[in-house]
């Protein structure tokens, strides 16, 4: 019986692995876990099957004569080291890059960023936060000084109003979603802002069903109403915020009527939403990818931060601006500095003091210029500037926008090295595939969406010759003549904690306790910080920043009359490499589907179950229709888990100019029966 942390979403539920005969025979909920309290979602309950899948990679694969063939570790590592060295020799240190994993442990992510910076000598290191919450980090760091969830999950029980924006919480963060449903049933008002009629939206007191990508207009309209009615928290604004007048002036023209014209919801609804949220004593605001995956993602995050600050909801119990992170350790991968511009703990590579500290600790000179984001790496690869790439536990060929482009680009590399559990679509393109250990086969930590750092414990040995990511990187580094010097996961954590102020007070000994610790935890006796910004914001005063509505980069037109948005299903995760190997999960949603409104379906003579083609300017995909009022007329929605029907073949890779986040949540498409 090994208590550990769920490897799927970022709620961070506690689960217990029961191992017999070298196999996980049961996964059960941890009855005393402070977050999940004896509960799990369907993914958590079904975390066992993929571990034992015969399709797990058991030994390294090396491309010979165009085909991936089994190879010894020594051969594969030598080939990888040689390719990386050759790429560096030819194009300089920045001709190589590392895509770290938001699924692997903090220790793996720290190893990845150390490997990139100290071994390869490049800041070209990134991970998939780019396709989920980079705008949260960019936006909230500007307004509050920290890009993380401000308040704990448990605070939703202390709230007087729950305000959920662009998050399908019952499906994607089910254990939080259930808690929201329960709180709502106890009488706490619930407002849901979402273009789709999600389960929460149906339950809500108020569903603000706005047009795709019009959140800023909605928030500005709400702010207008708040100032107009005097619902703002004047004392809080005076004591804790800056730039109030500028914000107020910026929303002066955003009357609810003006906002209504852009958002497509009535002015009365906008005012009602403003009243519910602003006049409740404490409002717990949570948001998801519906906010961030837009060209205006960062600005939308800022808008929500404005809303929370104006109503005095930051730094208080039961309040907050709470980004619900997607993958189990996307928070941790950011914290660990698997990002092109920061080391662990968001210490900027451009900051000389920070750089010195890492240089001293690692005994090597580090690159000074920020590196490339994962999408920039893809473009650099396309232009021939990036020659070799190490991808750890990510499947960008399925999960990134413009999937075909990604695949083509990856094929262009001189060398693609992939560490994975399975032969994913990305791994199939690789020159070298290295078998990785899963969460159940290694020690480490994950950091959940509420900044909760929790232990991941080894319950069984990896299959075949698979190794933990950090071991793979360590071995590769040794081949390159610069060993990372790691002995075990605890040692990596200790090295990281010593270099990372927000984790400085943590150790494996302290993390033994269920539920771990929330950062910042600066000293060994510090109890951790479930709630940020309590004594004033991390940056000092909360900054109000006027933002203006930017329409989505691609709007429907005569050729592509519908708007496509993407979403996730409860029973699947990411590209499905883990969940689709669980028979019950795979059966639940057996194939890619597209949801569409009855009026759009009728016009095209499409019924539920019919085969349809979804086309955009970038590509097309064939899938099946679900006719449903979950989506409004004019909008179609696709889950993105299925490689055989991936919406990323059609989605837009137009970027948020600040966080360089692609606009996955909206593009123009045509749909027809086929």
């Amino acid at each position: 019986m090994t208590p550990t942390t769920c490897p799927f979403c970022a709620v961070g539920c506690g689960l217990v692995l029961d191992v017999a005969a070298k196999r996980v025979v049961a996964v059960t909920p941890d009855p005393v876990h402070p977050v999940s309290r004896g509960q799990l979602c369907a993914k958590g309950w079904n975390a066992g099957p993929f571990l034992a899948s015969p399709e797990r990679l058991r030994q390294p694969l090396l491309r010979r004569n165009g085909r991936l063939q089994p190879a010894a570790w020594s051969t594969a590592l030598a080939a990888a080291a040689e390719a990386l060295a050759a790429a560096r020799a030819e194009g300089g240190a920045d001709a190589v890059g590392v895509i770290a994993s938001a699924r692997a442990t903090n220790e793996d992510a720290f190893a990845a960023m150390k490997f990139a910076r100290a071994v390869l000598g490049t800041n070209n290191v990134d991970h998939c936060a780019r396709v989920c919450h980079a705008p949260s980090v960019a936006g909230l760091r500007r307004t509050l000084g920290s890009g993380a969830m401000t308040n704990p999950i448990a605070d939703l029980d202390e709230a007087d109003c729950l305000f959920v924006v662009g998050a399908d919480v019952t499906e994607n963060h089910t254990i939080i979603g259930g808690r929201i449903l329960a709180a709502h049933e106890r009488g706490i008002p619930l407002v849901v802002v979402d273009p789709r009629r999600t389960r929460l939206a149906r339950a809500a007191d108020l569903h603000v069903q706005l047009r795709l990508g019009t959140d800023i207009a909605l928030v500005n309209g709400m702010l207008h109403a708040i100032f107009a009615h005097g619902w703002e928290d004047g004392a809080y604004l005076a004591a804790r915020c800056e730039n109030v007048a500028a914000l107020q002036a910026s929303v002066a023209d955003w009357t609810p009527d003006a906002a209504a014209r852009v958002t497509g919801v009535t002015a009365a609804t906008i005012v009602a939403a403003a009243r519910l949220y602003a006049t409740s004593r404490r409002g717990w605001l949570a948001y998801g990818l519906g906010v961030t995956q837009h060209v205006s993602g960062t600005e939308t995050v800022i808008a929500l931060s404005n809303l929370a600050l104006v109503t005095g909801n930051v730094g208080v119990i039961g309040g907050g601006v709470n980004p619900l992170r997607g993958q189990n350790n996307v928070q941790g991968a950011c914290d660990m500095g698997a990002l092109p511009d920061v080391y662990s703990g968001y210490q900027a590579v451009a900051d000389e003091n920070a750089r010195r500290r890492f240089e001293t600790a690692w005994g090597v000179a580090l690159p000074t210029a920020p590196g490339r984001t994962s999408l920039a790496m893809q473009h650099a690869a396309h232009d021939g500037e990036l020659k070799a790439l190490v991808v750890i536990g990510q499947d960008p060929a399925v999960t990134d926008p413009g999937g075909r482009f990604v695949a083509r680009v990856l094929e262009r590399l001189d060398c693609l090295i992939v560490a994975e559990l399975f032969l994913t679509e990305t791994a199939k393109l690789a020159d070298i595939v290295l078998p990785a250990a899963s969460f159940a086969e290694k020690d480490g930590t994950f950091t959940s969406t509420e900044r909760r750092v929790q232990r991941v414990r080894r319950a069984l040995a990896p299959p075949g010759e698979a190794r933990a990511d950090w071991q793979i990187l360590d071995a590769l580094a040794a081949r390159l003549g610069r060993p990372l010097g790691f002995r075990d996961a605890a040692g990596i954590f200790a090295e990281m904690a010593a270099l990372t102020p927000s984790y400085a007070g943590m150790s494996y000994a302290r993390l033994e306790a269920r539920g771990g610790l929330c950062w910042p935890c600066p000293t060994p006796t510090h109890p951790g910080t479930p709630r940020l910004h309590v004594e004033g914001c991390v940056r000092g005063r909360g900054r109000l920043i006027p933002v203006v509505h930017t329409p989505p980069a691609e709007l429907p037109d005569a050729d592509y009359p519908l708007q496509l948005t993407t979403f996730r299903l409860h029973h699947q995760y990411g590209s499905g490499s883990m969940t689709r190997r669980a028979p019950l999960l795979e059966r639940e949603n057996p194939r890619g589907l597209v949801w569409m409104h009855a009026s759009d379906a009728a016009r095209r003579r499409i019924a539920t179950g019919a085969a349809v083609r979804v086309r955009s300017r970038r590509g097309e995909v064939t899938t099946r229709a679900v006719v449903s009022d979950d989506v409004p007329p004019g909008v179609v929605a696709m889950p993105y888990h299925f490689a055989e029907a991936s919406p990323n073949l059609v989605t837009n890779d137009a970027l948020d100019p600040i966080a360089r986040m692609p606009e996955l949540k909206v593009c123009a498409v045509a749909v027809e029966a086929c």
């Binding site: 019986m1 208590p3 217990v16 025979v25 049961a26 059960t28 909920p29 941890d30 009855p31 005393v32 309290r37 004896g38 509960q39 799990l40 979602c41 369907a42 958590g44 309950w45 079904n46 066992g48 015969p54 019952t170 499906e171 089910t174 254990i175 979603g177 259930g178 808690r179 449903l181 329960a182 049933e185 389960r199 149906r202 339950a203 269920r514 409860h570 029973h571 028979p583 019950l584 059966r587 639940e588 057996p590 179950g609």
Partner: protein, 343 residues
């Protein structure tokens, strides 16, 4: 089948060690603050008052994954025969024993179940006090054991323990451990009655349970509860499979073929009738298409007399595990509260 009085709780410790001579002894223990079934070899203090573990013993008899046959590259196919260790569970509560009686009836002669079940000896311990979310008393499953045990222990306040045996194996286990019993005298019988009364009185009043059960069981089937009521509960089921996994009487499984190179295995794997895919037919036809249909079907299975098992007992034994694990707050008490007009 019979009962006797043990002089002290030390005799129970002797029994536990005696069982450990030729069986793995599994007992509830508090681990990191949570009751869990752990292997103890009968050593250490017995946890007389610990609440039943969230994860019960069902998986020992009906494992989450049970391979039933395997084939190799030559096409030879052989059934997979389990060889379970001899085992003794000491400390099963009435609800879990009632549940095992259901499993016994359901699986009957199924060789996989029978093989595992026959390897186990069950020792119950009566609850003198209601546990936190349990309502066994409302469904006639507890707090004193009714069924399925080989031995059942009722600790008396004076330190003595009444041991009832439900099988020859149980009786023999006492003798083999060198535990002697005295006849149950009239005073002890009276005392047992008083203990049962006090135990019953320790349960909170939940009048909605009886109301909910009455509505659900009103004839003709389904007449008293409008479809809308179930459809309103439907969206609260997030299809997590938690209730069916933890339910000690849930027995549904699917069968999957697992390929491994040229060979493979066919295994029974726990299924959940709350999943949309559970009854979806290959043609697309679905006999329970809406979430509310599935919620209704599940709770009928648990709470309707139509499904009464051994002793006329409902499929729900009142253990309360579903209420703990349901993210949508529609475990048994949650649903009965809704049906009984309490929410």
């Amino acid at each position: 089948m019979g009962a006797g009085v043990l002089a002290s709780r030390a005799a129970v410790d002797r029994l536990r060690r005696g069982l450990a001579r030729d069986r793995r002894v599994i007992e509830p223990r508090s681990v990191d603050g949570a009751p869990l079934w752990v292997e103890t070899a009968g050593e250490g203090a017995f946890a007389w008052t610990l609440a039943p573990p969230l994860v019960g013993v069902k998986g020992w008899f009906f494992p989450p994954r049970e391979p039933v046959l395997a084939w190799d590259g030559t096409g030879a196919v052989l059934p997979t025969v389990p060889s379970p260790d001899r085992i003794a569970f000491v400390g099963l509560r009435a609800c879990d024993l009632a549940a095992i009686a259901h499993l016994d009836a359901h699986f009957g002669a199924d060789p996989w179940y029978r093989t595992r079940r026959d390897a186990a000896l069950l020792v119950g311990v009566d609850c003198l006090q209601a546990c936190a979310g349990g309502f066994c008393i409302e469904v006639d499953a507890g707090p004193f054991a009714r069924a399925a045990f080989d031995l059942n222990l009722t600790p008396l306040p004076d330190g003595r323990v009444v041991a009832a045996w439900g099988s020859a194996v149980g009786r023999a286990a006492l003798a083999d451990a060198g535990v002697t019993t005295k006849a149950v005298d009239e005073g002890t019988t009276l005392l047992l009655g008083e203990l049962a009364t006090t135990a019953a009185a320790s349960f909170p009043v939940r009048s909605y349970v009886a109301r909910g059960l009455a509505r659900l069981n009103a004839a003709p089937a389904g007449a008293a509860i409008a479809d809308e009521e179930w459809q309103a509960l439907g969206p609260r089921c997030l299809a997590c499979t938690g209730c069916t996994s933890l339910c000690p009487t849930c027995t549904c499984f699917t069968v999957v073929d697992e390929l491994d190179g040229a060979g493979g295995a066919r295994a029974r794997v726990w299924d959940s009738c709350l999943l949309e895919g559970f009854q979806r037919e290959a043609s697309g036809h679905h006999p329970a298409p809406r979430p509310g249909d599935r919620v209704r079907r599940f709770w009928y299975h648990k709470l309707s007399r139509d499904f009464a098992g051994p002793g006329g007992r409902l499929g729900c034994v009142g253990c309360g595990r579903c209420d703990v694990t349901c993210p949508g707050t529609i475990g048994a008490l949650g649903v009965l509260a809704a049906l009984g007009g309490e929410r």
